[in-house]
């Protein structure tokens, strides 16, 4: 398969050609004259930071957002003005979407999930013809290499297979494998590493049969593994389109950010060896009687599968949930039964799900920054809006948050900047123990480097941090030491210079792979 993407040098015919698409939202121009050409049978990746415009581009292709007049979109050679796309037209021309949340129904069977995509065949009196539905489902499953019992509820499938069913559902009515385009919008964002491998393998197989795919992802290593061609969007412009072969993750990351990345690896040298935070016989959820010590100035990573208890551990330390055991901070026992008590003891928690658990989307940036200590701005009998703003403006500068003004609603910021606001909310309190759950999830590489820098800075000034992350590379970059949780215990510990993604992968996923 040729990797060439340029029109004038042969290569496959184009499945999708996008020419000069722009999009303006009120004052902001989020896309500027974007042009792309995706060859038939190619997996073409689209990468870019938050706010780069890739989501907007996807929404324009889906017909959900109307492009500014002027651009054109040609699907399988049929050209039309980009501003004329509607969801119906997009679907009819063969553009099929599978989103990050694949929109499958976990308590319904595979047959039901597939049939819901196209409607059930019905007999007299509207009866569902189950036999036809089953036959068709089996055929579709075979076509997409999904080897599962169609009567199983979707929840019983492994996560990668659920996404594959979603893909099959979107593509089931294709006449031929090389018709149309599959658009995958961050399908791997919430999958673990082993699931990602399964899914990417399936995508490659579909591509070999002629399936054209537009793949959108934050994880640059997957992008390089899975795709033939990579296009990088930055500030609404396509800044590069390159063959994936010969591109290194670092080069790609620098294209995304638009500058050289200077992320120093952790020093790993913790001078003060006296225990700062100590857990003795701590039990919560699946974790039973674990012992853990963290030192001042140290970033301790927690690796483990979903359900290993890593998030529960953080929440338990922050006053939530039933638990048993002793927590010592600077040698003093802490028994925080509420969030407020934990905060008073010096703990801070940045939860995993920003939208649901941390962000006040309809409140201003200033209000969000002040949320964890509103009382601080109580001046002579009233809440001083001026003091709050001044402090917020200071935080915006200090934490490198990009926003027009601190009065803007938090939801209008990019994901990375929202995350910085949440982090700043806590760092302003000078916490002793930072509990971070997936601190850079869904955040672009530039913001991730910033966030890591902030965490290091906070810890260096005399705190300790516990970091939960599914991104092993992040753990390797950020942590001095990583503990691996499995089966309710700490099963491994990796130190500074030895933290290495491969080893961690082995430690974390090894037992699971063996069981399959």
């Amino acid at each position: 398969m040729t990797l060439d993407h340029r029109d004038d040098q042969g290569g496959p015919p184009a499945a999708l050609v996008v020419t000069d698409i722009s999009k303006t939202y009120g004052p902001a121009r989020v896309l500027r004259d974007v042009s792309l050409r995706i060859g038939k049978g190619h997996v073409h990746s689209l990468v870019g930071g938050n706010g780069s415009g890739k989501s907007t581009l996807v929404k324009i292709l889906a017909g959900l957002v109307r492009a500014d007049p002027g651009g054109t979109v040609a699907i399988d050679g049929q050209e039309r003005p980009a501003s004329s796309l509607t969801p119906t037209i997009a679907k009819a021309s063969g553009v099929h979407f599978v989103h990050q949340d694949p929109g499958v129904f976990l308590d319904m069977t595979v047959i039901e999930n597939l049939s819901l995509g196209r409607g059930f065949e019905t007999g007299r009196a509207g009866r569902i013809r189950w036999r036809q539905a089953r036959a068709r489902s089996e055929e579709v499953l075979a076509r997409f290499d999904i080897h599962v019992d169609p009567d199983l509820p979707l929840g019983a499938l492994r996560p990668a297979e659920r996404t594959m069913v979603a893909i099959a559902r979107a593509l089931q009515d294709q006449e031929r494998a090389d018709h149309g385009i599959l658009v995958l919008d961050e399908p791997t964002a919430s999958l673990s590493a082993s699931e990602v491998t399964v899914l990417l393998g399936a995508l490659r197989r579909y591509a070999e049969r002629g399936q054209t795919t537009l793949f959108i992802s934050h994880r640059l290593d997957e992008v390089l593994t899975a795709s033939d061609t990579v296009s990088v969007l930055r500030d609404g412009c396509v800044v590069a389109t390159r063959p994936a072969i010969g591109l290194s993750p670092r080069e790609l990351a620098e294209l995304v950010v638009g500058r050289e990345l200077a992320e120093a690896p952790p020093t790993g040298s913790v001078t003060n060896r006296e225990a700062y935070l100590e857990l003795r016989g701590f039990s919560v959820g699946p974790l039973e009687g674990i012992d853990l010590v963290a030192h001042k100035g140290e970033i301790v990573g927690l690796a483990g599968l979903l359900g290993s208890g890593r998030s529960r551990l953080l929440h338990a330390l922050f006053g939530g949930g039933r638990r048993a055991g002793t927590v010592l901070l600077e040698g003093v026992p802490i028994d925080a039964r509420t969030e407020r008590a934990a905060m008073d003891a010096g703990f801070a928690l940045v939860p995993e799900d920003r939208g649901a658990d941390a962000a006040f989307g309809d409140l201003s940036v200033a209000n969000n920054l002040a949320a964890a200590d509103i009382g601080r701005f109580w001046r002579r009998g009233h809440l001083s809006a001026r003091a709050e703003r001044t402090a917020a403006e200071k935080a915006v500068r200090e934490f490198n948050i990009v926003c027009g003004s601190v009065d803007m609603k938090l939801s209008t910021l990019s994901g990375g900047n929202q995350q910085k606001v949440i982090l700043a909310r806590w760092l302003r309190r000078d916490p002793k123990v930072l509990l971070l759950d997936e601190p850079s999830q869904g955040v672009d590489v530039g913001a991730r480097a910033d966030i890591h820098g902030l965490i290091r800075g906070a810890v260096a000034s005399g705190a300790t941090a516990l970091v939960v992350s599914s991104d092993l590379e992040e753990l390797a970059l950020l942590c001095d030491r990583v503990l691996v949780l499995a089966g309710g215990r700490i099963v491994g510990e990796v130190h500074g210079p030895d933290i290495d993604t491969t080893l961690l992968t082995h430690l974390t996923y090894g037992p699971v792979e063996a069981a399959l």
């Binding site: 989501s55 499958v104 969030e339 990009v402 994901g415």
Partner: protein
């Protein structure tokens, strides 16, 4: 539909973001739009006053203005009662019935048990507080949906009042002092305003300028996040129902003073929709998207003067209800549309 954790995690790349500072001309246009939104209701209000003054001679008289300003104070207090739970994301549909039942409690104290005005008012306010406590405990501590709890409370109170009064008004033994402080005017200002304005001022201060008010706003914005920044969410939610209960009872006291009797019809909650209409209409003014005190009071009088104007033009009394319904639906629609426009997703 159940979703596993794996499929519900949100990535940051999912929405359109506009971080870059906009050019000056666009910023100017945006500021204009924001101001149009903030002061739109006020401008329409003034326009309506002018139009009705021109087309109807009876409307633009000091007397009519006094009547409307004074008599709508009850609704004003009731609307303020309703916004306290609304700010923290909960409905209190029992404010109307609570007000009606409180009026009966006050009337009964004075007429049947010959309690003095002061103690009678205290008993009435405590009654309102207890209604709020029952609502609040069920909503905040048990976790029952506030819509259902307060709707049930509303019906329950209506039933009790019907049983106790048998549908007849209590008009004997009402304190004449109370009537005098609620009707007529002082220094040319209708006395109803002397009830509404202090309540409004305190509510404006507490809800907008104290950490308590900010805490309620945070809960209304994101309950789980509020819990995780250390706010005592259930206690605060409970407190909002207590305040709403006491204010509803206060509205009950004022209505007895203004009408000179305690009318069991009030418990049917006819004022509830008008209060909610004002709360939601008020959300579109001054601080768009947020329930706020000045907006709520403006909305009360916006509706009142519009209805008064229409009545001067010959509309029958049903026009009030039609107007309230339209105002509620219209206000919610406008705020929803504007919110969508401001945050392209």
């Amino acid at each position: 539909m159940s979703m596993t954790k794996e499929t519900t995690v949100t990535g940051g790349g999912g929405a359109i973001r506009t971080d870059e500072p906009s050019p000056p001309a666009r910023q100017e246009a945006r500021r204009l739009l924001v101001n149009a939104e903030r002061f739109g209701l006020l401008v329409i209000f003034v326009v309506i006053l002018v139009v009705f003054s021109v087309v109807s001679s009876g409307f633009f008289t000091l007397n009519n203005f006094r009547i409307v300003l004074g008599s709508e104070a009850v609704l004003g207090i009731l609307a303020l009662a309703s916004i306290v739970p609304l700010i923290c994301g909960e409905f209190d549909l029992s404010v109307g019935a609570n007000m009606g039942a409180s009026a009966i409690v006050l009337g009964t104290c004075m007429s049947r048990f010959h309690v003095g005005l002061g103690p009678a008012i205290v008993i009435t306010l405590v009654f309102g507080l207890l209604v709020g406590l029952a609502n609040g405990l069920l909503v905040a501590k048990v976790g029952v949906n506030s819509f259902i709890v307060t709707l049930a409370m509303s019906t329950f109170l209506a039933g009790l009042v019907q049983w106790y009064t048998n549908g007849t008004s209590i008009s004997t033994g009402i304190s004449q002092f109370l009537v005098r402080t609620a009707t007529g005017d002082l220094l040319g200002i209708p006395k109803g305003l002397f009830w509404l304005l202090p309540v409004g001022l305190v509510a404006w201060y507490v809800l907008g300028h104290t950490p308590y008010g900010r805490a309620l706003t945070s809960i209304g914005s994101n309950r789980k996040a509020a819990q995780l920044v250390g706010l005592r969410v259930s206690r605060l939610t409970l407190s909002s129902f207590l305040i709403s209960g006491v204010l509803a009872a206060l509205a009950g006291v004022l209505t007895v003073g203004q009408s000179g009797d305690a009318n069991p019809q009030l418990v049917e909650g006819t004022l509830l929709l008008a209060a909610l209409a004002a709360a939601f209409l008020g959300r579109s003014a001054f601080r768009p998207g947020r329930f706020n005190v000045p907006g709520t009071i403006l909305a009360v009088y916006f509706v009142a003067f519009s209805v008064s104007g229409l009545e001067f033009l010959g509309a029958a009394s049903w026009v009030a209800q039609v107007f309230d319904g339209l105002a509620l639906a219209g206000a919610v629609t406008v705020t929803t549309v504007l919110a969508r426009k401001n945050a392209p997703q």
